[in-house]
Symmetry: D2
Subunit: 361 residues, 4 copies
Amino acid sequence: MANSFGELFRITTWGESHGGGVGVVIDGCPPQVPLTEADVQPDLDRRRPGQSSIVTPRQETDQAQILSGTFEGKTLGTPISIWVKNEDARPEAYSEMALKFRPSHADYTYQAKYGIRNWQGGGRASARETIGRVAAGAVARKILREQFGVQVMAYVSQVQQIKAQIDMATITAEQIEQNIVRCPDPNAARAMIELIESMRAKGDSVGGIVVGLARGVPPGWGEPVFDRLEADLGKAMLSLPASKGFEIGSGFGSIFMTGTEHNDAFRMENGKVRTLSNRSGGIQGGISNGETIYFRVAFKPVATVMHEQETVDVEYKNTTLKGRGRHDPCVLPRAVPVVEAMTALVLVDHALRHRAQCGRG
Amino acid sequence: MANSFGELFRITTWGESHGGGVGVVIDGCPPQVPLTEADVQPDLDRRRPGQSSIVTPRQETDQAQILSGTFEGKTLGTPISIWVKNEDARPEAYSEMALKFRPSHADYTYQAKYGIRNWQGGGRASARETIGRVAAGAVARKILREQFGVQVMAYVSQVQQIKAQIDMATITAEQIEQNIVRCPDPNAARAMIELIESMRAKGDSVGGIVVGLARGVPPGWGEPVFDRLEADLGKAMLSLPASKGFEIGSGFGSIFMTGTEHNDAFRMENGKVRTLSNRSGGIQGGISNGETIYFRVAFKPVATVMHEQETVDVEYKNTTLKGRGRHDPCVLPRAVPVVEAMTALVLVDHALRHRAQCGRG
Amino acid sequence: MANSFGELFRITTWGESHGGGVGVVIDGCPPQVPLTEADVQPDLDRRRPGQSSIVTPRQETDQAQILSGTFEGKTLGTPISIWVKNEDARPEAYSEMALKFRPSHADYTYQAKYGIRNWQGGGRASARETIGRVAAGAVARKILREQFGVQVMAYVSQVQQIKAQIDMATITAEQIEQNIVRCPDPNAARAMIELIESMRAKGDSVGGIVVGLARGVPPGWGEPVFDRLEADLGKAMLSLPASKGFEIGSGFGSIFMTGTEHNDAFRMENGKVRTLSNRSGGIQGGISNGETIYFRVAFKPVATVMHEQETVDVEYKNTTLKGRGRHDPCVLPRAVPVVEAMTALVLVDHALRHRAQCGRG
Amino acid sequence: MANSFGELFRITTWGESHGGGVGVVIDGCPPQVPLTEADVQPDLDRRRPGQSSIVTPRQETDQAQILSGTFEGKTLGTPISIWVKNEDARPEAYSEMALKFRPSHADYTYQAKYGIRNWQGGGRASARETIGRVAAGAVARKILREQFGVQVMAYVSQVQQIKAQIDMATITAEQIEQNIVRCPDPNAARAMIELIESMRAKGDSVGGIVVGLARGVPPGWGEPVFDRLEADLGKAMLSLPASKGFEIGSGFGSIFMTGTEHNDAFRMENGKVRTLSNRSGGIQGGISNGETIYFRVAFKPVATVMHEQETVDVEYKNTTLKGRGRHDPCVLPRAVPVVEAMTALVLVDHALRHRAQCGRG
């Protein structure tokens, strides 16, 4: 269904930008996993607005409450319901949105599809919906880390023209968190922050690239032919607001090599099958091969800008609209925990699917 | 499940490169659709090997047989089973594959996952699996065309460095079929064919980009939040053998624009909401907006090359392997009908889902 | 997934008897359906404990809160999250349940499956879980009534040996509600109440039969071969706590007739195909035929009794256990709204599925 | 989807009574299971028509062909496609069925739903569709037996008024096969055969009860709350042609006991938790408790009788219809392998689901 993701570790998210809150139900979580709100909150804090000068200033504490599925600090194997209240509701700030469709937002298409929309803050199409994903992803990451020895990370690798130089093999979560743009190359990070701040000053916005990676995934995860690991990762990323592209391993760059250049040679190393290069991005034939899984996600510049733009109103007449109020010049720093969450959700689901069919983790 | 795709128009493919054949079961097809093998065969012919000098010479006629689900030339609403026999079985040509893992193929990962593999011709990981997709896609395209007025097309837009100049608005299926590389820009096509032939001569291979598009999709198809239309299209494309990347609309290029530059302004035109530009690729908030849907898929160079490469054998010792026999220097011309098929499958599924929830096609 | 039900109108329930509450997320609800808590509360009130002298005295107001999916009193087409807080938490009342497995309850099997259980009040296995079903079912019933002209009802037809005489064709919701046992035959109802009260006095319990029915279902709902309408109704009913059997139409009684006696002859009546008898229970070949759908569900006597019973403790030693505290002598009156809810959920799901494939409601 | 069953061991059946054949695709089968046609054929032979004097005389050899998913006699983990050709096609025998709806068959409802039907031999609604189930069930039974030590059996326990006396604890597959009615009580079997033959002589038909059971299921299988083991078994059985009722354990009889009488006391026995009685039917709270799982399925008398009956024709006029040609006086003997197959499919699916979530078989 449209609001569920995953086959065996399945999440269902709910909630609009304004209303009773947003949340998630996790079905299929293994039992006996130690879990409290403290496991979930740090990633929510990394996702929440208002955390730094370069993201949207909306004020929300985004405190998670676990309503079910745990007992005495451990998961029961029953559905885990997590709820985050909406706090900073300012419906009056959106009154113009009630009457006009914002360009490159989902206002018009929701209206066209459903014949009705919650125009407050983007309703269901708001990035606020990703809170449920991040909360569930925190549970998934914990299981991956503790039960499967898998580490999931993401970072900002490019903002417009500014590219970071990063060694994927040694990067740590701490390095990613050391600056507000979540780019572990300090020089690039400085330039990125400067660029984003200039965009904010201009009332404009800018996009870029987030890299996601997973280390320690054993060979064998992934379910050909349709649920190839990269297909599910791609779907996960392309289901994020503002994402426009996904590439695994060598990605679009692969087309400039010949087959001979592109192939990853196999070699034995310490009794394990390894590849000398990793253009495959850790996945071959849709199944993990034991190398680091990595991919890139393109996020377009945020559609809300403070300039006047041509558009159409709800009575289907031409008009103009100028963004006002809270302005998010760059979605990337807050997209990082969301990319991590979705990566973890895909991986833990495939871990369970592999165990089901093949009898091993 | 791993071998099924779609929620309401659901296909299940089966079959290995060698064995009793390959096939597909379509569940959920609307009843009373006129359908015979003649509707399916043309797309299979466009996909089959041996159709031109620049694709793999494997000899298969790939004749489809509809075994169920139709009666007196019309669909019954019951499952449609389509079967294509394997003919050109030459297991002896693969004897070395029994003993060694081909680099950047799925041999090793299938072995690691399942502890067993059909090493003949790549088994389930063979591109031959896409026959079932193409057969089902032909049914989907027919329904889209006849019941919803939607046209689906794909073409080769780039081979390595050679880019085609194409006007997406006017391109026709005939133009795509006018040369063997399926690139509707005749000058680019000539250069592409030359490049591919030189690769074949060298025993090497080359990748490139296929563009997929759909015209006539009404506003309202797509199921946020997880089954956004671009997310399902992305998954569909990334589930294809050799695909490494997917981008919708402006894609990775979007990151070089500001929000103001990137936004698609709305305007009324003949009583319809239109956008002045189409960087959104026909999809906003995961839902079609009535503009042409278009996307790009990157295919890596085929992994089978005629050169000696380092690899590992099934006893986990280092060795080398040199490709022999049939050689496919470029997957792109045959990928075109597969991209069309998967696009059609995603769209018809979303058409039915939209009708289910919102009561209209 | 285990905690979701339905394909297109899909509910996911969550929550334990004790903890943050119980709830449901409805995904796939058509947009623009008028909906507020007032549509949901009446059925919850019919399900809640403490409503009469013959049901469990647990004190809960079971007030529903709609947290998402509606706007200005109408559904948005996005997930509807409904939450009911737990109030009457008395964990101390369950301390013995922490140490011993109650006979014919789910204590032991949950422990065996998950290695952990919330022993307070039965945890997830508590009948309290059905709150989410009833809330979602109220939405489903509303859609069926208003958009499809379908009426769903259930009533108690038998308690132990006491059978009601009821004319299924004319029965009304008001008649069902006219007594606390929800049996529309007043004489039988009186005897049933007397029997249940005598059971309560003895600290024992008693089971019986609930009949479910749906009037106005058009021909054509139901999805052979596996999702036959009676198969999905059967699954729905057998997923209820304490249910032990399900029969559609003539049911187990059919085996005493010959084919000639059992067949329902077709006749035209006012331009419609009708059957002269309705042993089929309104379903033939898994598809509704336009006649009243009816079925019977057997509920065993509640397992909690106030007598000492042999059992095993959590250290796997033999012991005895005597029920204490709140005692529910008969589950049937409160099962009625739950049977109605599940019936409605199955029917609305099939209505949408039929519309998706066949293009009509 | 309508023609798929199971979550992790998922089958998709296809095919009509007349046409290219019937078949099944199994997705999710564990790899490395020894499997050839010889594993599947015996159960198909037990299901096929013409096997004895008391079943339909249609002549089909029903030879299974495995088209994919195995290699050198073992499963690959890829989809297993099994095909059985239709042979005894006599469309002329059905010419009257083209024009008239047979009472209590699916002719009318298929027409009402799809606006089209294959009137030859019942089309998709033919019991011939169960071939795919039996073939897949044979694979499931093999896995249950060899990997989980679980034995699945079914037998005829009642034909009309004739009830068998059977000790469920000791019954063997050989005893079930020792007579053509598949009732392991020889005295009852004789009477049943006599009754069925008298029905055949009269051109009439008779129904009865099949008991299904599974021994050796470990505690822990079953997925509350919706996919309770008995709910999935019930759905499986109620999806069979001609089935009208299902009861688990004490079933409808439970309503005549009090809670005290009905409860199954727990006792330790050889270090295992056992129950002194088994009214629960081996399932508590939707999860297996280690005791024998057993249930009863009611099959109505076959609708095809050789007498003239009132009905309606395809132009919606009243008419009469008299059955002709092949006549099946009792479906029960052939239902036995189908009940076994569906039981095995449910159990193996739950075995894999339990392994996925809880990490153990």
